[in-house]
Symmetry: C2
Subunit: 536 residues, 2 copies
Amino acid sequence: MRRWNGWGEEHTEMALAADGARFLQGVLGDGQVLPLASLDSVIKQVPPSRLPAHPLTSCDPELRIRHARGQSLPDWLAMRSGQFERFPDAVALPESAEQIRELLAFAKAQDALVIPYGGGTSVAGHINPPESSKPVLTLSLARMNRLLELDTTSHLATFGAGANGPQVESQLRAKGYRLGHFPQSFELATVGGWIASRSSGQQSLGYGRIEQLFAGGLLETFDGTLEIKGFPASAAGPDLRELVLGSEGRFGVLSEVKMRVSREPACERFYAVFLPDWNHALPAVRELVHAKVPLSMLRLSNTAETTTQLKLAGHPGQIAWLERYLRLRGISSDKCMLLLGISAHPKQLRASLSQAKAILKPHGAVWTGTLLGKIWERGRFRFPYLRETLWQAGYLVDTLETVIDWSGVERLLGALEHSLQAGLKDENEPVHVFTHLSHLYGSGSSIYTSYLFRPGADYKTALARWQKLKKAACEAIVREGGSISHHHGVGRDHAPYLAAEKGERGMAVLQTLAQHFDPQGRLNPGALLLDQGQMQ
Amino acid sequence: MRRWNGWGEEHTEMALAADGARFLQGVLGDGQVLPLASLDSVIKQVPPSRLPAHPLTSCDPELRIRHARGQSLPDWLAMRSGQFERFPDAVALPESAEQIRELLAFAKAQDALVIPYGGGTSVAGHINPPESSKPVLTLSLARMNRLLELDTTSHLATFGAGANGPQVESQLRAKGYRLGHFPQSFELATVGGWIASRSSGQQSLGYGRIEQLFAGGLLETFDGTLEIKGFPASAAGPDLRELVLGSEGRFGVLSEVKMRVSREPACERFYAVFLPDWNHALPAVRELVHAKVPLSMLRLSNTAETTTQLKLAGHPGQIAWLERYLRLRGISSDKCMLLLGISAHPKQLRASLSQAKAILKPHGAVWTGTLLGKIWERGRFRFPYLRETLWQAGYLVDTLETVIDWSGVERLLGALEHSLQAGLKDENEPVHVFTHLSHLYGSGSSIYTSYLFRPGADYKTALARWQKLKKAACEAIVREGGSISHHHGVGRDHAPYLAAEKGERGMAVLQTLAQHFDPQGRLNPGALLLDQGQMQ
């Protein structure tokens, strides 16, 4: 059973090694565990639905609770304190495009708002019911999760938009294919959600972002179905796919999606490489992407992240051996870990490996083989479970991400980390901050920063601390010219910062599009675009 | 001096070998050369301008003639017969974004239409003044052609939008970089034009289409400048770049563009490979892209194109030797030529070559080394000059292109070639048709078809023949589910067919966007989107 108030399956846990716990105590002080509200106590709070009965909807309180919040830290605080604020008035689980259209018509007739819901994994408030006098219908695509068609000549797979990561990949694997989209939300997030929020997976360097994988599909709108034909590429005017990508449910509901798939790679390896320090590591990875070495993944942790990861990894004996070996090779406490993936034919793998080694050598790189890569691969979707472990140890963790040209990476990364490190200075409270680059492009890189802090005495304090940190970090991103999101999307949490990058005229275009598809503003209002009240 | 009534520089010519001339005579009959109107006679026809004088515009008749038409076959017929129909009332050659905005304001004040003009290489009627009671101002970006900034850390180059292919590449080459965008229009077409029409270059397999190369820029609109910030990638809502890509001047005028550039490759080779016939060739190239071999170009000619190319190449002695060699290796008259490019580090080149050879071998491929590849490379931008040569020999040539999923390639290619071959049956006139695939994707391929025919007794007959052929071919594309353009764009010639792929709701979105940017419909009306009158 999926957790009602946190990430993933109830019985999946990730242990915190004694060494890791000591490390956190050292940097943050003793943990502070907040009390958990029970599901029963929350069920009692759920108000009566403002929507009449409909054969395709349910007003079951537990179902409404389970669709009321995403996975952002404030969502966790709301769920765990039992202070949900709002619930959808009803939840629908349609099984076809026709049923989606029927539900849209129902919402229109009832003057209700509609929140399209994929895996509920948003960390930016995409699926939270907004404050409104209108009733809210949450429309979950969870039952539309089948591989509907696989064209093995064209390597195109059509899915119901509600297929989650494992459903996508297991149905493809049975036929020898893969989509290759592996975001950390993989276990729960859906292909439709990835498209609507412009997701990017861990191996985007090889497989592309969701923009490159999404070929076309059906968008159900109040006005009927917009069919986006899936050409390999086309010069026939602006690309309608691009309107849906990142639309965050404002323009319509994806029912079916056609995806570009690949055969499973002949060979796939993840190597761990260590670089002496950040000043060696940054030009090294830039050089790898500029030389266009065919790799499927690069993930470079800064010194703070490398240290933290090795501390939290458990196995202190093995890690000590590794560190001794690295010291012998001249790499000590400032080291940065680089994970490098290759997914290719063995000939290409050898060529890429050889080229990567030649490029990294002058930067002082030490290769440690594939063992750490295998450990990473096994645990690649486990990180979200660590939040639970840390919660139980009395620490809160959140992540933030942005993207900028290479010439701005160092400046923005520094400003972002500083904004968080200093964010609770007024309370004399430490914040532990570390960062990696995991989506590298010729022109720049994503910056993914994690931060840990203590909740304080109660939920109110915890939320206030988060708000302070989030605000400081988002302002640093905007000030230094980063995008407010590289792959988490805008949702409600980032909406106030969007205008800084799109500009007034860019925002006006997006408003025009929202108005075009949804003149009454029923579809996920407040996500992506602030509603009129908020803008003033 | 650039030709006023055709392609390229006046003194650049491409000879037609005697063998080639005989070949054409054999398939099409004796050539029919139409008389050419003189520039002087056309100058006398140019009517007085309907626009008042302005310091940034010129009403010089020759300048107006030189900006009145593109390079489509009907454009050629119009220019060569002297029947231009319409001329812009004035031409402006702004030197800055400010001047563009000043000209837009002037056009608004004068109730004039504005046609943004890049290299004038459109083959789909993008820049032809429409029939209108309003005066027409053509706004050429030709003077805004400089490399304004090169960020060597981020591999980003900012250009004036009017820089043409040689201006782009020579300014980059001086610093060790390349854009890598090499469409056949390279010599004359501009980077802004490529973006506005979603162009694709010969090495798009390695460098990407213009969509992947365009990072951001400035769009001058009636309402001011829309700045599109150039992130490497972003999840912050729909991507504004994608609105400009393919907008064909309907939303605004690009003034500055930021492009993702690469270092010049360590090594670049083009290999010629022959396959026994189309049935062997098609699965062979599909396998190359599905195996994701890192190549920078694939161009597969069908049997008719291979035969025609070898006949028109000149050097009959050497070609005879080549054919003898191929026959010894089991490849005879049904042969298909595949050009395969690799642009990479020598290690990668060897790996890609080895993998490509292993993949092509079971399909009966015979490699002939890099000699034909070098000949192709030297003449890669010369094909448009062949139109002049063929004209002088009394034949007309035009090309058509589309794109479709792999599962539809064979069907669409057959239907397209048949529509042209049979297109002049009512006149008992032969049409020589041949095709290549030159932009290959995991999910499908472009289809590029050339057709040659005789003009008949006069220009009227020639135009009527072209109209018949074009209509038949476009209808075949639409019927078989292809896109109306893979890289030539929509312009005025393809606009009637756009709704077939975008659908009624897709067209409505594009109309809303045009309305948003240009409520009075002054910007390039009739291109991309039919104007209201035409739609009825």
